[in-house]
């Protein structure tokens, strides 16, 4: 394990995160964030999404640049496959959220990471989305994430990193708990 003389360097600014946690505990209104995206239909099942602005720390904020995402369905669905499917974006969101969490927790616990790779797989019975059988849900039947982690720590400590990352992950929470969704037409 890393030590006080040779602290872990995972590239996460834990001091800033801890300072933010202390500051936001005293000013909970600044902790209110709004995350946003826009999505525009192109053609067929192809759409083009962008994220740029969000709200947090009491004011409007901007990413350093606009990030864009093409979504489509693959050719087996008779689509043109111009982007990842939306459900794959969900997998990307979950895996990247958990992985960021692992790095942050490792930094906090002074564990040097050498490599972290996740493989994520969601099972889906598409009879649900095709309306073949109403007893089958549209979404994933289950999701499995498999991590390969090379780090300067015992196996139990690595397992504890992964467990703590799930406990603190926004996307893990979004995927494992219900959320009220309101869709309106203007």
């Amino acid at each position: 394990m890393a030590n006080a003389i040779n602290p872990a360097k995972n590239g996460v600014n834990v001091e800033a995160l801890i300072a933010a946690r202390e500051a936001l505990a005293k000013a909970p209104e600044a902790a209110q964030f709004k995350w946003r995206a826009t999505c525009e239909w192109k053609d067929g099942t192809h759409s083009h999404s962008a994220v740029e602005g969000y709200y947090g720390l009491g004011q409007e904020q901007r990413h350093k640049k606009t990030f864009t995402f093409d979504a489509d369905h693959p050719e087996v669905f008779a689509s043109e496959d111009k982007g990842a499917t939306p459900v794959e974006y969900v997998l990307v969101g979950l895996a990247s959220c958990l992985t960021a969490g692992i790095a942050a927790v490792a930094q906090y616990r002074n564990i040097q990471l050498r490599s972290v790779t996740a493989t994520i797989e969601g099972d889906m019975d598409i009879q649900g989305i095709l309306g073949v059988d109403s007893d089958i849900r549209n979404g994933f039947g289950g999701i499995k994430v498999t991590y390969k982690i090379d780090a300067d720590a015992k196996r139990e400590d690595i397992e504890a990193l992964v467990a703590q990352s799930q406990k603190r992950s926004a996307v893990y929470d979004i995927v494992t708990n219900p959320t009220n969704v309101t869709v309106v037409v203007n």
């Binding site: 909970p28 494992t176 708990n177």
Partner: protein
């Protein structure tokens, strides 16, 4: 605290809304046993003298124990006296009760951490046909309707209540969020013995990294089982209890939804238990106990079925009762002082509240990990009594100067 005050010849009264040990008499289920062994209930000048030091007191025995201590120390208890408000006056406090007012220089709040059962807001969506009972109201399985029971919460109360209801023939579904698994006996000795001997229970509030977090940790899944068996989730599923994740919500049409995080909740708990047992093993080795006790072992990981149920239709008739074992909070509605944080808990430094002469006892990790145990009251009371005496002395010095 009364005993410590008497030792220092400080005039005081103990106000009690009912009889001594009121909450034990009125707010506990019938079969409850203390989760610490008999030998461990050590109060200043008062311990266990019976022939079953490793046993766990039954509810009548707990009540008798506390009542006999009150008698042994001749505590000046005013029973059937309900405090209606406490407020600061120029030189102390005005304590209003339904039996008249008291003026005093010092108030020690020892009204407990578990006055009100926490129930989530969406409980009002539970269909009316289902009986809802909190862990505080629950008495025994026979008082429940026949049929399925959904127990919410898998800490000490939830697991014990789930076990006895399942044994009564009512099929139990247990909703488990964050919980702390613990073996009753480890390497031939009670877990409480290890935690006491290794100093875990004596760990001070100013020695832990994040005291706020330490104070929010749920209770260990320990039960005072007469056969000293472990009551963890594996024991419950072996009895036939169905495990589901933390209750995430109840839809307007009466469907309960459970989080898909059960596997991680169990993994976190297994890892946490592993760290505690590692600490115990290290301590046993360093202290030369390795050949005097049984060899180290690790309980098997918590079993979670491949796809735990994510939903339960509460209108189907399968569930007749919901038990809310989702924790407690203290009731400070009578405390007319600006000393609460935004979550309604008293702000304090090891029981010393930020109002001169106001003290708190019996809160989680108040001064030590054992602060909520009967065994923790003595050390906390001595520390706070020292502070209280020097506070009184400094006031006297100021007045006479």
């Amino acid at each position: 605290m009364s005993r410590c005050l008497a030792d220092r010849a400080i005039d005081h009264v103990v106000l009690e809304r009912g009889e001594v040990a009121h909450s034990w008499r009125t707010e506990r289920w019938d079969s409850l046993r203390l989760l610490t062994p008999n030998w461990q209930s050590r109060l200043p000048g008062f311990g266990y003298g019976g022939d079953d030091p490793d046993g766990y007191r039954t509810l009548p025995e707990i009540i008798a124990f506390i009542a006999s201590y009150a008698k042994a120390i001749a505590a000046p208890v005013r029973t059937h006296t309900t405090v209606t408000s406490v407020r600061a006056t120029g030189n102390g406090y005005l304590v209003r009760t339904d039996q008249g007012d008291w003026r005093c220089r010092i108030v020690v709040i020892a009204s407990g951490a578990c006055n009100i059962a926490r129930v989530p807001a969406f409980a009002d969506r539970v269909p009316r046909a289902i009986a809802q009972v909190t862990a505080q109201q629950y008495r025994n399985p026979g008082a429940l309707p026949d049929g399925g029971v959904l127990v919410m919460g898998a800490s000490a109360s939830g697991t014990q209540i789930a076990a006895e209801i399942q044994r009564s023939g009512r099929p139990v579904t247990l909703s488990a969020g964050e919980h702390i698994r613990a073996p009753r006996v480890y390497r031939g000795k009670d877990l409480e013995w290890w935690m006491d001997a290794a100093g875990v229970l004596d760990q001070r509030y100013d020695e832990v990294d994040d005291i706020g977090r330490a104070r929010r940790v749920p209770s260990l899944q320990l039960a005072g089982t007469p056969d000293r068996s472990t009551l963890d989730l594996n024991a419950l599923t072996a009895m036939g209890v169905t495990l589901v994740g933390r209750l995430a919500g109840i839809s307007e049409d009466g469907k309960a939804q459970f989080a898909g995080s059960l596997r991680n909740m169990c993994a976190l708990s297994d890892l946490k238990m592993g760290r505690l047992l590692d600490l115990i093993d290290d301590w046993a080795r360093v202290n030369g106990l390795d050949d005097k006790v049984e060899p180290p072992h690790r309980p098997p990981p918590t079993r979670v079925e491949a796809s735990p149920p994510l939903g339960l239709d509460l209108t189907s008739g399968a569930i007749k009762t919901i038990i809310w074992a989702t924790g407690f909070r203290p009731d400070y509605s009578w405390l007319d002082m600006p000393v609460l944080d935004r979550k309604g808990m008293i702000r304090h430094d090891g029981g010393i509240v930020a109002a001169p002469g106001l003290y708190l006892m019996g809160a989680p990790f108040l001064r030590r990990r054992k602060s909520t145990l009967i065994d923790g009251a003595g050390a906390d009371a001595r520390d706070l009594c020292d502070h209280l005496v020097s506070f009184l002395d400094s006031r006297l010095a100021r007045i006479s100067a």
